[in-house]
């Protein structure tokens, strides 16, 4: 105990010793230490010396400065990343830190400029530098095709940037969506037909023609037409498009927690339906589908008497 005390006394005056002490404290608390902790540990250290030591560690790149709700936090930087930054100057480190903070959503070059207050030319130079060092990469966003977001090299881009399961290489896969659409509809339609042919009481018929979103998801997974793994949410968006096509209707029922496929105590049920009316009378005539309907009037160049669409339709 006495030795420790002596050691401590000796540390007070040597700045290197102060730095080492702080580093040891950081090792003890890997999630970060506040200024208060350092003060408690070295009560006789003057604030000025403390500040000097911390600044030295920060400039050496061995300490990370973070802010949380209660104040500033100091965290030991892992040695791997410290080696990377050797040879880079402060500005690059700053930009790198900003990009790292953006996580896997990436950050736009203009936002980097706002956060670091560096001029645009400097930012571009630094970004090119970092890219050549293979520390960061640019990912094209699917929302705005000209916008490029930067993120760390080894990170997987987030779904909102690449668009998720429906996009491959920034292109919307419409055939894939169409195929899924058809398959889901066929599944629900065959289920409804099976229920109708069973000739049981109407309530049972209707209930057996329903399929939960979980069942549809399992069916699509088993079909194996998708190269990408689809989640239940994806299947639900496909089923929603079928609702907008007027081919399917949906109800929500309360389900016990823990039954397969239930989300927050509810389950969505889907069922194939028939159209309510036949195609209406207006569209059975050429005028209902005519592209120049507005320009047509008697005595003009386009008129009912000379209409070529009508002539074709009458001779049909």
């Amino acid at each position: 105990m006495a030795e420790v005390k002596v050691k401590k006394e000796a540390n007070l005056s040597d700045p290197a010793e102060v730095e080492n002490r702080i580093k040891e404290l950081c090792h003890q608390f890997p999630q970060g230490i506040t200024d208060q902790v350092i003060q408690n540990d070295l009560p006789h250290l003057e604030p000025q010396q403390r500040a000097m030591a911390i600044n030295k560690l920060l400039s050496l790149g061995q300490l990370d400065l973070l802010r949380n709700s209660s104040g500033l936090l100091y965290r030991l930087k892992d040695s791997q990343s410290t080696s990377k930054m050797k040879g880079s100057d402060n500005q690059e480190k700053l930009v790198y830190q900003i990009i790292e903070d953006a996580g896997n959503k990436g950050i736009w070059s203009r936002d980097i400029r706002f956060k670091s207050n560096l001029p645009l030319t400097e930012i571009n130079k630094i970004l090119k530098n970092l890219e050549s060092k293979k520390l960061i990469k640019a990912v094209k966003s699917v929302a705005a095709s000209k916008k490029k977001v930067y993120m760390l090299y080894n990170l997987q881009p987030d779904r909102s940037v690449t668009g998720g399961a429906w996009y491959s290489d920034q292109d919307f896969e419409s055939e894939f969506v169409e195929v899924l659409n058809q398959q889901c509809f066929k599944f629900l339609q065959s289920k409804a037909e099976a229920a109708r042919d069973s000739k049981q009481s109407p309530m049972v018929q209707r209930n057996s023609s329903f399929a939960t979103s979980h069942e549809v998801w399992k069916y699509i997974c088993e079909l194996g037409i998708s190269k990408v793994d689809l989640s239940m949410d994806d299947i639900e968006t496909i089923l929603n498009t079928l609702i907008y096509d007027g081919k399917v209707e949906m109800t929500v029922i309360a389900a016990k927690e823990g039954t397969v496929g239930s989300v927050d105590g509810q389950m969505k049920l889907y069922r194939g339906v028939n159209a309510v009316i036949q195609p209406t009378g207006l569209v059975k005539t050429p005028c209902g589908l005519c592209p120049v309907f507005e320009d047509c009037h008697e005595g003009g160049e386009i008129s009912p008497s000379s209409c070529i669409y009508m002539t074709e339709w009458l001779d049909f």
Binding site: S174, A275, V276, L282
Partner: protein
């Protein structure tokens, strides 16, 4: 009274009543209420012709007269409305409905009344009996009593009604609205008359016999017509209610199954006379009553009926609603909501046929979700951004979709405003209704054009038919007949057949568009009464 409606009314008047009536009719439609002198002056026709045309229009209920605006002493004013004239388009449908419900007799009664406008019961019965007798075999004739019973049945179910008594020119009529037929308590009461007689066959008799027949007919009419002055007309509203019920039943049959549609048909039949035409839903019917009134062929057990009713109530289309629990559950048919759903399905079908199923997907999506941004439309509909944009702009240019701006700043700067797409069902339905009127007018004009083109050919074929008929009647040899037939060459015959086909096609197309017109009109009228 839009331009398209006036154009269509003009064409219909021309076809059914001739050019003079058309001139007077369209003039009245365009200019509102006018007195006789102004009409004569502005149409440039003679007094006689104008008077006769006005008579024709009043006879058919297309024109109403009332005392002038300046007071009881001023000349009467005439005004006409588009609705009554547009009904002419629907005559074939009325006649067909009467045929399905009451057989040939009913069909002919309704046809006669539609042709004449207003007629007495005895007059109608006689004419119909004569017509029916003509088509029967030799030696048989139609009894008046059968025709009268058909007539009474039509009146009992409110398909025919008495014409309202119009006030004379001298009386001070304080109310500006002409009395509706329903305001008279005797509207549907058949007068107690005994019409005795049988239908007379029209024979090609000599003049002497004709005179004798005429005299006998006159004496007969004096004996049997005991109640003069009661004129009858067709009750269009009742026919419309019937069509509306039919549309609802077929929609239920399409969506669910046959048994559900039978249940809905029973419910509608039970509330035929108890529901007012403008009601939002029928009177509540208890499940017990429905069970008792089901047709005998459908003997479904009571619990199954309850299940069907529950299913009808749960259906998203909301045709049937539950109004209470007494008597095993009280159920109503939601008429206005059913009409709105049918109109919505009509709009969706028009968009689908005209622009494709992906545009129809966007349209349905906007109908459901009300207001959406461009990006959201692409995400929900799962259509690539470029194509979705294209489709939305096409729909916007055709006015089927509207744009709603929501600004973030007081100046409507485009970069700081939200643009939301939306569909308003009622204005879109009105727009489509006008398009339907224009379409029907186009079809009629095309039909007239086709007949005019081949006028020469038609006249020739008519002449040849007349020659053939006269030769056959006077007993000519077969060679003479074939000689006459050969006067029409083969290509001309082909042309005639093609012409007949074209005209039939155009005619049936008019009837099909009329079905759309009926749905959209009922929907627009139902919203007017519920909000107004």
């Amino acid at each position: 009274m839009t331009a398209q409606e006036v154009r269509l009314c003009g064409l219909l008047l021309h076809e059914h009543f001739g050019e003079v009536v058309e001139k007077v009719g369209t003039h009245l439609l365009r200019s509102g209420a006018q007195n006789l002198r102004t009409i004569i002056h502005e149409t440039g026709l003679s007094v006689d012709l104008v008077k006769k045309s006005l008579m024709v229009l009043v006879q058919h209920g297309a024109c109403l007269f009332s005392s002038g605006r300046k007071g009881p002493g001023s000349p009467t004013e005439y005004r006409s409305g588009c609705d009554r004239i547009l009904r002419i388009l629907r005559y074939p449908r009325y006649i067909y409905t009467a045929k399905t419900l009451y057989g040939d007799t009913g069909e002919l009664v309704v046809e006669e009344l539609l042709q004449r406008g207003h007629m007495t019961m005895s007059g109608t019965v006689k004419t119909v009996a004569d017509r029916l007798t003509q088509n029967m075999e030799e030696g048989r004739s139609m009894d008046y009593s059968e025709v009268s019973s058909a007539f009474s049945k039509l009146v009992e179910t409110h398909f025919l009604q008495r014409c309202p008594k119009l006030a004379g020119a001298g009386t001070a009529d304080t109310s500006a609205i002409p009395p509706t037929p329903e305001s008279f308590p005797d509207c549907y009461k058949v007068p107690h008359m005994t019409l005795v007689g049988r239908g007379k066959r029209q024979l090609a008799a000599e003049d002497g016999e004709d005179q004798r027949n005429a005299k006998r007919q006159k004496m007969d009419s004096e004996n049997s017509e005991s109640v003069p002055g009661i004129y009858w007309q067709v009750n269009f509203e009742r026919f419309h209610l019937h069509f509306r019920d039919q549309a609802i039943i077929s929609a239920v049959a399409n969506k669910l199954d046959q048994t559900s549609s039978e249940i809905v048909r029973t419910m509608l039949r039970m509330s035929e006379v108890t529901t007012s035409p403008a009601a939002t839903c029928t009177k509540p019917l208890s499940a017990n009553e429905i069970f008792r009134s089901l047709p005998a062929s459908y003997n479904i057990p009571r619990p199954i009926l309850d299940q069907y009713l529950t299913l009808l109530v749960d259906d998203p289309m909301e045709f049937v609603g539950k109004a209470g629990e007494s008597g095993g559950g009280m159920y109503v048919v939601n008429l206005h909501r059913a009409l709105a759903n049918l109109a919505r399905a009509t709009l969706e079908s028009v968009v689908q046929e005209r622009f494709g199923s992906r545009s129809a997907r966007i349209f349905r999506l906007l109908l459901r979700k009300r207001h959406l941004e461009q990006k959201q439309v692409e995400d929900f509909a799962m259509i690539p951004a470029k194509e979705a944009k294209d489709m939305l702009y096409t729909l916007l240019s055709q006015n089927l979709v509207q744009l709603q701006e929501i600004p973030k700043t007081p100046d409507y700067a485009p970069s700081r405003t939200f643009y939301l797409y939306t569909v308003n069902q009622l204005p879109t339905a009105r727009m489509l209704l006008q398009n339907c009127y224009k379409t029907v007018a186009n079809l009629i004009e095309r039909r007239l054009f086709e007949s005019k083109e081949s006028k020469r050919l038609l006249e020739k074929s008519q002449r040849i038919e007349a020659i053939l008929a006269s030769l056959q009647a006077s007993g000519a040899e077969p060679e003479q007949l074939t000689e006459v037939e050969e006067m029409i060459t083969a290509p001309e015959k082909q042309q005639l057949d093609a012409l007949k086909l074209h005209i039939n096609k155009l005619d049936s197309a008019e009837n099909q568009v009329d079905e759309t017109i009926f749905l959209l009109e009922s929907y627009v009228n139902s919203t007017a009464t519920s909000t107004g």
